[in-house]
């Protein structure tokens, strides 16, 4: 055991920082640092800039455009991008469907779809959850029935992130209604412009419309859009969900940025004659949160250095980091709203989602917009990607072999 920082990693970090300072447009960075979810136009623009440098899909195999970086380098890259205010990547594309296509897809699918994912030209959206299939995803009912060289797709998906920006949709469909729930599912790619496909945005509590329902009414999808084998979709999904949890669960960079923001804003905000940060009640709470974040950051470093994961005996570390990371994110965003006092109650329109509010005047400090939206949005992070209740059950089962009593 040795805690000295790695010099070559430090050099890599500097290289990334130089690249960011020269290539990340400042308006995009300012929007990226706000609490609003990334703007789809900014995500695409940034993906293009990264693609030009060859850095848009670092974690992919080199043959498909990856960088060949170590896990530690990839993490440093993600963290530096995040801290600089780069928009979050189009995860549904580069993080979810991309790896499924290059791992399980046909040569034709790779040739057709991977370039658009790398470049940001094609915005992919996910079609997994359904109104009746949330935590119990395998009970999904959207059906695909073979009809000559097409599937006829009928049903409904929900909670599709960035649905209204979607060009292509990767969808779990039931192709064998008689098989056991997990055994009859297939993974299929659907062009959102296909007749019969309708996207309906959902109004979220914080006021945005980034989620959507997607309806399929006799949508005709060519058979060649099936990924891998029919009825094997559940295996591909497990592979994909594992990627989701391992890479994005703890969100340590986000937690660190919340701490930075709280410190900075609480030094600027006045509490009578003194800065808010000098209020002991406030400072003690921040200290407690910061200690948690520093520990979680070390856990993430360990996971990355050791290449630890569920498959090689990580002992539910992905679930552990997800639970604690999301709980901290909720506490810290709550504290951020507290920092801005009276302005924490105000509604500010989302300038990331609606460009007409960019540069508009608003009441309160310049950093006020987005803080409340983020607090509210963060309530979803203990729900999506497997609720924290499900994660805790997984931890109990994986670590200790504990199972729920059969009811």
């Amino acid at each position: 055991m040795d805690f000295k920082p790695d010099i070559s990693e430090q050099a890599f970090r500097n290289e990334v920082r130089v690249f960011l300072s020269e290539n990340l447009p400042s308006e995009i960075a300012a929007r990226g640092r706000s609490g609003y979810l990334a703007a789809a136009d900014d995500q695409r623009a940034w993906q293009k800039i990264l693609a030009k440098k060859g850095w848009s899909v670092p974690h992919w195999p080199v043959e498909y455009g990856g960088t060949g970086w170590t896990a530690a380098q990839r993490y440093i890259f993600d963290e530096e991008c995040y801290l600089a205010g780069a928009p979050t990547p189009i995860i549904s594309g580069i993080g979810l469907v991309g790896p499924v296509i290059y791992t399980f897809g046909s040569e034709e699918q790779k040739r057709r779809h991977l370039p658009g994912i790398r470049s940001g030209d094609v915005y992919w959206i996910q079609g997994f959850s359904e109104p009746g299939a949330g935590s119990d995803l395998a009970s999904l009912r959207t059906s695909a029935v073979r009809d000559g060289d097409h599937y006829i797709v009928n049903g409904q998906k929900i909670w599709t992130s960035k649905g209204k920006y979607g060009d292509w949709n990767f969808v779990l469909v039931r192709t064998d209604p008689k098989a056991k729930p997990q055994a009859g599912i297939s993974f299929i790619l659907i062009d959102v412009r296909t007749p019969g496909v309708t996207v309906r945005p959902i109004e979220s509590l914080e006021g945005s419309h980034h989620l959507a329902e997607v309806f399929y009414d006799n949508a005709k999808v060519p058979v060649e859009n099936l990924v891998g084998e029919e009825n094997k979709g559940w295996d591909y999904t497990k592979f994909l969900l594992f990627n989701e949890r391992a890479f994005y669960g703890a969100e340590a960079p986000a937690l660190k940025r919340y701490i930075q923001k709280i410190r900075r804003y609480a030094s600027l905000e006045r509490n009578g004659d003194a800065p808010l940060i000098s209020n002991p009640t406030f400072a003690v709470r921040l200290a407690e949160y910061e200690l948690e974040v520093m520990a979680i950051d070390m856990s993430v470093a360990q996971v990355i250095q050791a290449g630890l994961n569920e498959r090689n005996g990580g002992n539910a570390i992905g679930s552990i980091l997800k639970v604690r990371g999301t709980e901290l994110a909720q506490k810290l965003t709550d504290m951020l709203v507290e920092v801005i006092g009276d302005y924490g109650a105000a509604f500010f329109p989302d300038f990331n989602e609606d460009a007409k509010f960019r540069g508009a005047n608003h009441i309160g400090p310049e950093y006020a917009p987005g803080l409340m939206a983020e607090l509210i949005y963060r309530r979803a992070s203990s729900i999506y990607g497997g609720t924290n209740e499900i994660q805790r059950s997984l931890i109990a089962k994986t670590r200790f072999g504990l199972q729920s009593a059969k009811s």
Partner: protein
């Protein structure tokens, strides 16, 4: 002590819940917020007709002459019903200030307020004040023709719809001194008065009010010059308790809709309410509700007995009740899953209401700190002396 309601109190509570059933269904409310309609004057007039705006006003001033306990019963029902109109901030608060300070001079205005025909808003807070009513940078200067007011007021509940404002401004002293805070009555259409912003996160009405050389007559002064801070603190203390009563209603509402949801929502072939993790969460929420309600009772008791610790105990109540109220309503969202995050379900509106109440009249950092400092000066209250305002 007795905890059961009198017949009169029961009737009051029932009248509120009947009104909510009839006029405040969730779909109606949702259509209203979509149309940007945060304040319905017809509903405000109904509040007046029901007597809710005059509950605490003495009978000699045209009110019902009841106590803050009756007002709390109404506030709790309105919290459960997700009422958008700011009953406490624009109803109880300005009425209490005006009747206490200058009833005879403003009898017509008071009659209009009690009937729900005129709406007043209190512009007391400022960005740096964080709950301290003595921290007032806005100023008023007396000239030959009257007062001239300058400054910015933040989180003025009801500002975009108010007909007039009661504004606190400094007429002497340092920015944070107790002495030298005065209250003025200013019509909303006074030249130089500007409302910035339009709504709060929970769809209710609220904004900044900027006073840019606003001129008012010498009769605009309410009460004695420079002596408003203790009056303001007293009235705001009562308003805080009523907001906490609203929180109790919101918590109970969130718990009720969530209990219903987990009994009907099925995953893995069973109602999700059959999972122990969810049952225990519901149990914890029920525990917090009992605690919250009792904390509000304690604060009502402090008002009724006019305890020397009243203001401090009310600070403690706000810090405590809003914290557990935020947690309980947030868990309502958690147990609803993704649906809880949408505008289409009731539960999220309770959470957003909590987030706004958390911000009004000072946040947890202010109130908890104030309570903590009072612990260090326990002897103050033991001797029956009141703590200085603003500490």
């Amino acid at each position: 002590m007795r905890f059961d309601l009198t017949e009169e109190q029961k009737l009051l509570q029932e009248s509120a819940s009947r009104f909510l059933e009839r006029d405040y269904g969730f779909e109606k409310r949702r259509a209203r917020v979509k149309a940007g309609d945060a304040f319905d004057r017809r509903i405000w007039k109904t509040f007046g007709e029901m007597g809710w705006l005059s509950i605490i006003v003495p009978e000699r001033d045209g009110g019902l002459g009841q106590s803050v306990i009756e007002a709390a019963l109404v506030a709790e029902e309105l919290g459960r019903g997700q009422v958008l109109e700011p009953y406490v901030a624009c109803g109880i608060l300005p009425v209490k200030l005006l009747t206490g300070l200058a009833h005879s001079r403003h009898a017509d205005l008071v009659a209009g307020l009690l009937a729900g025909e005129v709406v007043a808003a209190l512009a007391h807070s400022e960005p740096q004040a964080r709950g301290n009513v003595c921290d007032v940078a806005a100023n008023a200067r007396l000239g030959s023709s009257g007062w001239r007011i300058n400054g910015r007021k933040s989180l003025v509940v009801g500002a975009p719809i108010a007909d007039c404002f009661i504004v606190s401004a400094r007429t002497s002293g340092d920015r944070t001194s107790e002495q030298g805070v005065s209250l003025f009555l200013v019509p909303a259409d006074a030249p130089g008065l500007r409302v910035e912003g339009n709504r709060l996160m929970d769809w209710s009405s609220g904004a900044d009010v900027v006073f840019d050389n606003v001129s008012v007559g010498s009769d605009a002064l309410l009460g004695n010059v420079g002596m408003a801070a203790p009056v303001l603190q007293d009235v705001i203390d009562e308003a805080i308790v009523l907001l906490c009563a609203e929180v109790v209603g919101a918590m109970e509402g969130a718990i009720d809709v969530t209990a219903e949801y987990i009994k009907t929502r099925k995953q893995f072939g069973v109602a999700i309410g059959s999972f122990q993790a969810l049952q225990h969460r519901m149990a914890d929420m029920a525990i917090e509700l009992v605690q919250a309600r009792s904390a509000v009772y304690r604060a009502l008791q402090a008002i009724q007995l006019d305890s020397p610790r009243k203001s401090i105990d009310i600070s403690g109540c706000k810090a405590f009740v809003t914290r557990i109220g935020k947690w309980t309503t947030s868990q309502g969202i958690q147990l609803h899953g993704g649906y809880g995050m949408t505008e289409e379900y009731k539960v999220g509106q309770y959470f957003k209401r909590l987030l706004v109440i958390d911000g009004i009249f000072g946040r947890m950092d202010y109130h908890l700190n104030r309570y903590a400092r009072a612990i260090a000066h326990q002897d103050w209250s033991d001797q029956g002396r009141k703590l200085p305002i603003g500490t």
